[in-house]
């Protein structure tokens, strides 16, 4: 397969993932960024980036983990760069506190890796290997992160119930 044909095939896979899985990408990004509009921008930026760099894709037939990695990175960048953007490029921001404050607080208290693993597991239904690829860690680390997140959340949810 020549480079152009391969790039077209990758583009077709990106489009398919976008068409069929967009709500999941958006949901995970929203969970990471904490703001639906910013998350929408993050997913958009991520896919623009994926399309631009599709010739660099050297992975296997399943392109999704690669896309998830780009989306997660874009969302993280949005979250971190919230105040880095020049005002001229963004509207004056919405309030920093999203709705569902208690649960946000609870989830936000988890370490970043646990949080992201949790979102990818529950909102995107990715298996451990795909989560590992998306987060750039080993599958064992994903298992440990999810276990830690479950333990912490279960304990705190029980505390909140009492």
């Amino acid at each position: 397969m020549d480079t152009a044909t391969r790039a077209d095939a990758v583009l077709a896979q990106i489009e398919k993932a976008y068409r069929e899985r967009y709500p999941m990408f958006l949901r995970v990004a929203t969970a990471i960024v904490g703001d639906a509009d910013a998350a929408r921008d993050a997913v958009h930026d991520a896919f623009v980036r994926a399309v631009r760099h599709r010739r660099r894709y050297r992975g296997g037939p399943d392109i999704e983990p690669w896309l998830w990695r780009i989306v997660v990175n874009a969302a993280r960048k949005r979250r971190r760069g919230a105040t880095e953007l020049p005002v001229g490029d963004v509207e004056i921001a919405a309030p920093a506190t999203p709705p569902n404050g208690d649960l946000w607080t609870l989830v936000a208290s988890l370490p970043e890796r646990q949080r992201h693993a949790l979102f990818l597991r529950y909102y995107a239904d990715l298996d451990y290997r795909s989560i590992a690829e998306a987060l750039g860690v080993k599958p064992g680390t994903v298992a440990a992160s999810l276990h830690g997140a479950h333990q912490t959340l279960r304990r705190r949810l029980e505390e909140m119930d009492h």
Partner: protein, 653 residues
């Protein structure tokens, strides 16, 4: 799934709602194309902008008779003279400063300034209300990568349009009262299944009717201006190298601040009166029919190095509105209904976006942004007020008072004030040339394929148009499916499919057309009709298993190959679902902990007699023969999938 997993699952479900948004793939492609062109920007920007600045009169003169001759030569000739580009633009939006005692509204502008010396450096400055909010010197490559270079991109597109003759003078008009000519830079026709027609999205540049300098840019849909996309061009000049002002600070390369916002303990009225050194403000226990339902400490945390201590700014968060019903044992702020949120602090915080702007707001005034958030400062306390309705933002900001003070009337008409604020944020422009949308399926197009299922029909036309009719869809599906359905038609080769394109049609509504297999600029080649099958779907598992997979419940086989593919996919999905649910799921979990495979009899499902199960040692194998005669299998070893032939048709096992 264990009970605790289910609890967490429910809690997370309540955290972020399942979106129904399906994105905008066309915009992704458009922006990706733009971004790709941006890499060419540095090479061409000088030429293009010089052409605009120096040869403006020649440009427009040649546009008048649609002959772009001479533009490129002039542009290239200009490169040697003034290598530095200096541009200042002002957005078609910004903010408004509202004097709360008089109701006077003053526009506050957001401006971007770019200095670009290709091969050396670039400087990007942004200002809001005259205050510098960002000033960074970087390489030209960093500039194009890191900040919005819309004007420079425009120059690129402008130049391309001029070169190719796609640019046309389409209308006369004015910008802020200044007579202009509107030049349309080609544009792209995009299909819309909303109305079954193609629409023109195009960028336009206004050039001064006398000097021919570009003064304004905007995007248009079918020739009509798209609100919020306009930008004034305040300055555009070409300077010599030694005239470039590249003296700003270097762009930081180190880590950026990370952190977040979290709600802390609940504040009673007495706590609130003491908060922020006794300077906290509120709107009373009820404001304009909205009760105070949450009053909490608000913490903003940030740090730039993971080894640093958190920098914590403590404030107050008040929420007027309503709470949701209990979900996962908790009630949350309900932002789907009318609400007002107030955030307060004694200093700006990195993670309190926009709060640094509040430090410059004069006491007694209110800074309203393009969003529905406003900032003010009162006795040293910084406050942001947010609400979905601008009129609520204004009324709440005016009503803020120290805890214990009675409400005071300011005598302002907030409805009128909201209108004034909206107007102050827009640059007045006149003139446009409307364009008629084009039908997606031409009236004389010849139908070549027809199919139907469950009350839905499809007709595929020569050339690639397809018309879906969902009006007679079965009532059960009407209830279960979302309002808009994704559609696709495709060709089949083995298990793989080649898509003929995607479309969207409304559920149970009038007949609509989706554009398929139509070659579009920047799009990959796609399969052309005749197709093997079409399908319609949408939604992520509210009504079907698996919960986390996209569903195409309406399958329309147009050929025998297409019908076989659907049969095979159904069997593969059935088998994949089988091995990840019920006793198989529990067994796989135990097997991952070292348990052997249970007896095959315990793994079978009496409700699915077609699925055969064999078990031995650490393994079990499930198999199912599709109606086409093809046998599918999934072999589980130690709880994990060892081998299967379902993966190309069923995603999750």
């Amino acid at each position: 799934m264990t009970e605790s997993h289910q609890t967490i699952h429910r809690a997370l479900d309540g955290l972020v709602d399942e979106p129904e948004d399906h994105g905008d793939w066309e915009r992704v492609l458009t922006d990706a194309g733009r971004a790709t062109r941006r890499s060419r920007l540095v090479r061409f920007a000088v030429a293009a902008l010089t052409a605009v600045g120096v040869a403006g009169a020649a440009v427009v003169a040649s546009l008048e008779d649609d002959r772009p001759s001479g533009i490129v030569d002039l542009a290239l000739a200009a490169i040697g003279d003034g290598p530095v580009i200096h541009v200042i633009t002002r957005g078609d939006w910004g903010g408004s400063l509202v004097d709360l005692s008089t109701g006077e509204v003053t526009p506050v502008h957001a401006e971007n300034e770019i200095w670009l010396e290709p091969g050396r450096a670039a400087r990007y400055v942004s200002r809001f209300g005259g205050k510098v909010t960002s000033d960074r010197v970087m390489s030209a490559a960093e500039l194009s990568r890191e900040v919005s270079t819309q004007l420079l991109d425009l120059a690129d597109r402008y130049r391309e349009a001029l070169r190719t003759g796609r640019a046309k003078v389409v209308a006369e008009g004015s910008v802020e009262g200044r007579p202009v000519r509107w030049i349309r830079l080609g544009g792209e026709w995009s299909p819309s299944s909303e109305d079954g027609r193609s629409h023109l999205r195009a960028e336009e540049v206004a050039v001064d009717a006398t000097s021919f300098e570009p003064v304004y840019t905007r995007w248009t849909d079918d020739g009509r201006p798209v609100p919020g996309t306009g930008q004034l061009i305040l300055k555009l000049e070409n300077l010599q190298a030694d005239e470039a002002d590249l003296s700003g600070p270097r762009a930081p390369r180190g880590p950026v601040a990370i952190g977040g916002a979290a709600l802390g303990r609940t504040l009673g009225r007495a706590d609130l009166a003491r908060a922020l050194d006794g300077r906290a403000l509120w709107l009373g226990s009820v404001h304009d029919g909205l009760p105070l339902v949450e009053s909490r400490v608000q913490e903003f945390r940030s740090r730039t190095d993971p080894d640093d201590e958190w920098e914590v700014v403590e404030g107050v968060s008040l929420f007027y509105g309503s709470l949701t019903k209990r979900r996962a044992g908790m009630r949350f702020r309900d932002n789907t209904k009318r609400f007002v949120q107030v955030l307060e602090g004694t200093r700006a915080a990195t993670m309190w976006r926009g709060s640094e702007l509040a430090t410059d707001v004069p006491e007694g005034s209110l800074l309203v942004g393009a969003g529905r958030t406003a900032f003010l400062r009162r006795q040293g306390v910084l406050v942001s007020v947010s609400s979905p309705e601008l009129v609520d933002v204004l009324a709440a900001a005016a009503a803020l008072r120290p805890v214990g003070d009675p409400p005071a009337s300011r005598g302002l008409d907030f409805e009128r004030l909201a209108l004034l604020v909206g107007r102050a944020q827009r640059v007045p422009t006149k003139g446009f040339a409307a364009v008629q949308p084009r039908p997606l399926v031409r009236p004389d197009a010849k139908p070549i394929q027809r199919g139907a299922t469950r009350g839905v029909t499809v007709v595929v036309y020569e050339g690639g148009g397809a018309r879906f009719d969902t009006r007679a869809m079965e009532s059960g599906l009407q209830r279960a499916l979302p309002e808009r359905l994704q559609t696709r038609c495709f060709r089949v080769a083995g298990d793989a499919v080649t898509s003929g394109g995607y479309g969207t049609v409304p559920r149970g509504a009038v007949q609509q057309a989706a554009l398929l297999a139509q070659p579009q600029r920047g799009r990959i080649p796609i399969a052309k009709p005749p197709f093997d099958a079409c399908e319609l779907g949408g939604g992520f598992g509210r009504n079907w298993l698996p919960r986390y997979d996209f569903h195409w419940p309406l399958e329309i086989g147009l050929t025998a190959r297409g019908r076989s593919w659907f049969e095979n996919r159904a069997a593969a999905r059935e088998l994949a679902h089988f091995v990840r649910t019920g006793p198989r799921r529990r067994a796989r979990k135990a097997m991952r902990q070292g348990a052997p495979a249970p007896d095959a009899a315990r793994l079978r499902d009496p409700g699915r007699p077609g699925i055969r199960v064999r078990a031995s040692g650490d393994r079990f194998t499930a198999s199912l023969t599709a109606s086409t005669g093809r046998r599918f299998f999934i072999e589980i070893d130690g709880g994990r999938v060892l081998r299967s032939n379902t993966k190309s048709l069923a995603r999750t096992t």
